[in-house]
């Protein structure tokens, strides 16, 4: 018991210390690496709090894909290389106004969180009992999936819409950057990608399927499949081209569309939206989750690519 307590204290101290280190680093690359490690330790913290679903999502999205997005952004900012060259430091002091606005917004968010925590009823049983009572009607046996896709499906729909909005904005912005392909990573990496990618696809499908009864689900599966796409982009097995745009648009939208259509269909059949008929609940939930998984994976991959696919000559990509 004391060993576990010591471990928890050490873990908590490391998380806070890494958060501080992430903010205080001078070099943006070191900052991102510290942030990724911070995400891994956060996931460990969630696992210690017996929240494996959150831990999985944190490690896949918070540490893995966010880290990849940040590194990609840094490479763009530094002209295709990750190391700082010739004073092109990203950590140059921002001007006072920017810092002031950031501090104000971060302070407001902290205050809102504090208020929400203090305003929440203390020392009363949570909603677990209600969830447990309603589980037979949910169509699945894993409470987290029941809450996400059934009892509070509206919130989840909004999360999917947020991702859709993000990718729409990214595709709208033409930043005038030359297409800088990722540097070729060599034959060892290609071999690794050939072995690992098919297995990762199976792992993603497994996470999606197992979500009905155990930790897993659309977000974790989408993150794993998104990572597959990122590895594919890095290995140049996938080369985004303008011809891919209609397919990509369809993939971005399909999750939101199917989710909303199911809600409308259920509402049209004389029930409240998202009040799935218990007999079909599992089918509907898995249908929604599968489509949302596709959308999440496509969206994360598109965010990593960072722009709408444009025509690039072959010589340029083979540089």
């Amino acid at each position: 018991m004391t060993v576990l307590l010591a471990f928890d204290l050490l873990l908590a101290a490391s998380i806070v210390g890494l958060a501080a280190a992430t903010l205080l680093m001078r070099d943006a690359f070191a900052m991102i690496v510290a942030f990724i490690v911070f995400g891994m330790l956060m996931a460990l913290g969630w696992a210690r709090l017996v929240a494996p679903d959150v831990a999985l999502a944190e490690v896949a999205i918070g540490a893995g894909l966010s880290g990849a997005l940040l590194l990609r952004t840094l490479a763009h900012l530094r002209g295709g290389s990750l190391s700082a060259q010739g004073g092109a430091s990203v950590s140059a002091p921002a001007n006072g106004a920017t810092q002031g606005v950031n501090a104000l917004l971060a302070g407001l968010a902290t205050c809102a969180l504090g208020l929400a925590y203090l305003g929440a009823p203390q020392n009363v049983p949570g909603l677990e009992a209600h969830v447990a009572d309603a589980m037979p009607e949910s169509g699945v046996t894993h409470p987290v999936t029941a809450v996400l896709l059934n009892f509070r499906a509206y919130d989840t729909l909004m999360e999917v819409v947020v991702l859709l909005a993000a990718v729409i904005v990214v595709w709208q912005v033409e930043r005038g950057l030359a297409e800088t392909p990722a540097p070729a990573l060599g034959t060892v990496y290609q071999g690794f990608a050939r072995v690992a990618l098919p297995v990762a696809v199976i792992a993603g499908g497994y996470l999606l399927w197992i979500g009905a009864e155990a930790p897993g689900g659309a977000f974790q599966a989408g993150a794993v499949l998104g990572a597959v796409a990122v590895l594919g982009l890095l290995s140049r097995h996938v080369r985004p081209a303008p011809a891919h745009r209609p397919l990509a648009r369809g993939a971005f939208v399909v999750g939101t569309a199917v989710f909303a259509l199911v809600a409308l269909g259920v509402a049209g059949a004389g029930r409240v939206a998202f009040e799935y008929p218990p007999a079909q609940a599992k089918t509907l939930i898995l249908l929604i989750e599968a489509m949302v998984t596709i959308s999440i994976a496509a969206t994360l991959a598109a965010l990593f690519h960072g722009r709408a696919p444009v025509a690039v000559s072959r010589e340029e990509t083979d540089r």
């Binding site: 190391s83 990573l185 060599g186 060892v188 990496y189 690794f192 072995v195 690992a196 297995v199």
Partner: protein
């Protein structure tokens, strides 16, 4: 008995991780550090996975741990190779050992 064997494997694995970390902190240049880290951590990972597999409740769980071991080992070997490759291309020569 099996439980003790599993714990012993994990403890031994943790020792390898500690050795790899000491190497990472003490060795002078990126290639020496990678050498310490990838080899020692690879062994540590194998032992931790073996310990976890011994303690697994059923064969399916042990099989999953085996798969995790295979793919983490592959990924870390590839990652180590990529770091070394990048360092060599960036022209980081082997630094002389500090006096």
């Amino acid at each position: 008995m099996l439980e003790i064997a599993g714990m012993a494997c994990m403890a031994l694995g943790a020792l390898f991780f500690v050795a790899g970390t000491i190497g990472l902190l003490r060795f002078p240049d990126v290639f020496c550090r990678l050498h310490a880290l990838t080899k020692a951590d690879g062994m540590g990972l194998a032992l931790v996975c073996l310990g976890a597999a011994i303690g697994a409740p059923d064969g399916g769980e042990a099989l999953r741990i085996l798969l995790i071991w295979i793919f983490v080992a592959l990924a870390s070997a590839t990652g180590g190779h990529l770091v070394a490759r990048h360092a060599r291309r960036a022209g980081k020569l082997v630094r002389e050992v500090r006096p």
